[in-house]
């Protein structure tokens, strides 16, 4: 038993998830503000401020171009930071994981529950941002509602990425490295605020290969602009496959870290 990372995962994961949900609900006032304020600020500053100098991108107005990117970035941040800094605090400083594995719940389930929670948080943020974007008239309805369930899948991806870093980081400060060297470049170079096609082809390939956000932005943009194309299959398969691999890897790395 235990060779397989996913072996031994039962519905107990939802009990781990539920602990985080309960803590989130307790402080909902603080938690609900960012997803409302963030799109507002970005749309005003970039969309309607800077955007007045940009007529259209591929026939799309600039605020409409960046709207799906705003959701994608928020999904990335909420899931990644939940499963890095927040999970690390629970694991290392508060010993919450140790407390849980003294019950019938196993470490695999704790990690899976944390990742599911990170994805849920991404979903909540997307669901809260959407009405703001609708109010600005920068996303198509009703199809844009799809960004909410997709936020869960994309959230799983970024939560798994975060958990892999949490499993190997020597300290909470060292988590700044992936944040600045991986997440911030992704925020800028994933077809978020300007089309990927402006970059040299080689950089485009690198972005598509190693920057998960490019695929997430691509799917969200297709949804909010109602512009679906076969390339979406490639994005979705890439996201699904990488998520699965990193999910299993994060559990394996965490078990190595915590079970000695």
């Amino acid at each position: 038993m235990g060779r397989f990372a996913a072996a031994g995962i039962t519905c107990s994961v939802w009990r781990v998830w539920r602990r985080n949900w309960d803590a989130f609900v307790k402080t909902y006032q603080v938690n609900f503000i960012p997803p409302f304020v963030e799109p507002f600020l970005y749309l005003l500053a970039l969309g309607f401020g800077l955007g007045t100098y940009i007529e259209t991108i591929d026939g799309v107005s600039y605020p409409r171009f960046i709207a799906p990117a705003l959701i994608s970035v928020s999904v990335m941040y909420s899931a990644f930071f939940e499963c890095t800094y927040s999970s690390f605090v629970r694991m290392y400083y508060r010993k919450t994981f140790d407390a849980i594995i003294a019950t019938p719940i196993g470490i695999e389930e704790v990690i899976a529950g944390e990742i599911l929670w990170g994805a849920t948080r991404a979903l909540i943020y997307a669901a809260l941002m959407l009405p703001v974007l609708v109010a600005f008239g920068v996303v198509d309805l009703p199809v844009s509602v799809l960004v909410v369930p997709f936020a869960f899948l994309a959230g799983l991806l970024f939560a798994s990425i975060g958990m892999c870093f949490t499993a190997i980081t020597p300290s909470i400060d060292a988590l700044n490295y992936p944040s600045f060297l991986f997440i911030t470049p992704m925020f800028l170079f994933s077809g978020t605020f300007f089309p990927l096609s402006l970059l040299p082809p080689i950089v485009q390939y690198i972005a598509l290969a190693v920057l998960p956000l490019t695929h997430v932005v691509s799917v969200n943009r297709a949804i909010t602009l109602t512009a679906f194309s076969p390339i979406l299959y490639f994005d979705l398969i890439w996201i699904g496959a990488v998520t699965l691999v990193l999910f299993l890897l994060s559990i394996r790395l965490m078990r190595r870290r915590l079970i000695a």
Binding site: V16, K95, A99, T103, P104, G106, I259
Partner: protein, 318 residues
């Protein structure tokens, strides 16, 4: 005809008492370091069993193997008759754990800490809430029910952790340093509660650095050092066997040491005293007073601490 009860006869001496934990040549290695070096012991149902030893003796590692959170690297270990490697979930269902470090959940109140913990065991909500109230009352924390953890004192946190460990009505309670860092009042309260739990038929396993605590609580104990079990027995029997009933302490001077050497008694030399282990303290004192050029001489009953220091030595452990 084959009859099922023919297969196994429990020993017929007195009431049948099962062994809750049986370790046989249990070993734990971390790379090349042997933390627990092939130890064998068993814990009987209903007793308080102690693990004593200096830092790094392997006590906590042994606890973690019993809790099924640290895989053993050798030997066998059965808890409730089940193998820790193959039945961790079933074992953990009936286990209560008080860890050395406080790991209460600071996001929640005292009451919620118990109900959320109950959920990890799959205890239904209504039942969990009832049990949480009962346990808060049992640990004299009912007035702190709605307080967040950071508002609780060290003693209250420790009591809350014990309450949390009881949420699943465990058959076996494992306590790693249950009264570490507490004031005497809090320690006495906890000792009383642990005794009460034993009276209800629970089995308790604890580690402690407080030898008075071990002597007071434990029916049996082992003293570990460098991964091995040095001795096993009841506190009184260990004191009697390894030290004697009494200790005579004399100020350490070359004269006294030379004099005692000629007396044919067992003794130990510390930084500033000579400790003589004996069952006849009056005779020893008299001889000392009569025959030796002595400084201060005192006699006192021997304690578990004397056994501990005698067996594990006096140099400091880091």
């Amino acid at each position: 005809m084959f009859r099922e009860h023919d297969m196994y006869h429990p020993p017929e001496e007195g009431p049948v008492i099962g062994d809750v934990i049986v370790a046989d040549n249990l070993e734990k290695r971390f790379g090349n370091v042997v933390a627990v070096d092939r130890v064998s012991f068993s814990v009987r149902e209903g007793e308080i069993f102690g693990f004593l030893g200096p830092n790094g003796a392997g006590k906590t590692t042994t606890m973690k193997m019993i809790q099924c959170v640290s895989p053993k690297t050798g030997g066998t270990l059965r808890v409730f008759g089940m193998d820790v490697d193959t039945h961790p979930r079933e074992i953990k269902r009936h286990l209560g754990v008080v860890p050395q470090e406080n790991n209460l959940d600071p996001d929640f109140t005292a009451f919620q800490n118990l109900t959320i913990y109950a959920r990890y065991f799959g205890i239904p909500r209504r039942e969990a809430e009832e049990r949480a109230m009962e346990l808060l009352e049992f640990m004299q924390l009912e007035e702190k029910s709605a307080m967040v953890i950071e508002k609780l004192s060290g003693g209250m946190r420790r009591r809350l952790i014990i309450a949390r460990a009881l949420i699943n009505a465990p058959k076996l309670l494992i306590l790693d340093e249950p009264t570490i860092g507490l004031d005497p009042q809090a320690r006495h309260l906890i000792w009383g509660k642990l005794r009460a739990l034993q009276a209800e038929g629970n089995t308790l396993v604890l580690t402690t650095h407080y030898l008075d605590e071990a002597a007071r609580l434990c029916d049996r104990l082992v003293i570990m050092d460098r991964g091995k079990i040095l001795v096993e027995g009841s506190p009184e029997a260990l004191v009697r066997r390894h030290v004697g009933t009494d200790i005579v302490e004399a100020e350490r001077t070359p004269d006294v040491v030379a004099c005692i050497d000629g007396m044919g008694v067992r003794y130990d030399v510390t930084a500033d005293t000579v400790q003589i282990y004996t069952n006849e303290p009056e005779d020893v004192v008299r001889t000392l007073l009569d025959a030796c050029r002595h400084g201060a001489v005192t006699a006192r009953p021997a304690t578990l601490e004397d056994v501990f220091l005698k067996l594990t030595g006096r140099p400091l452990r880091e």
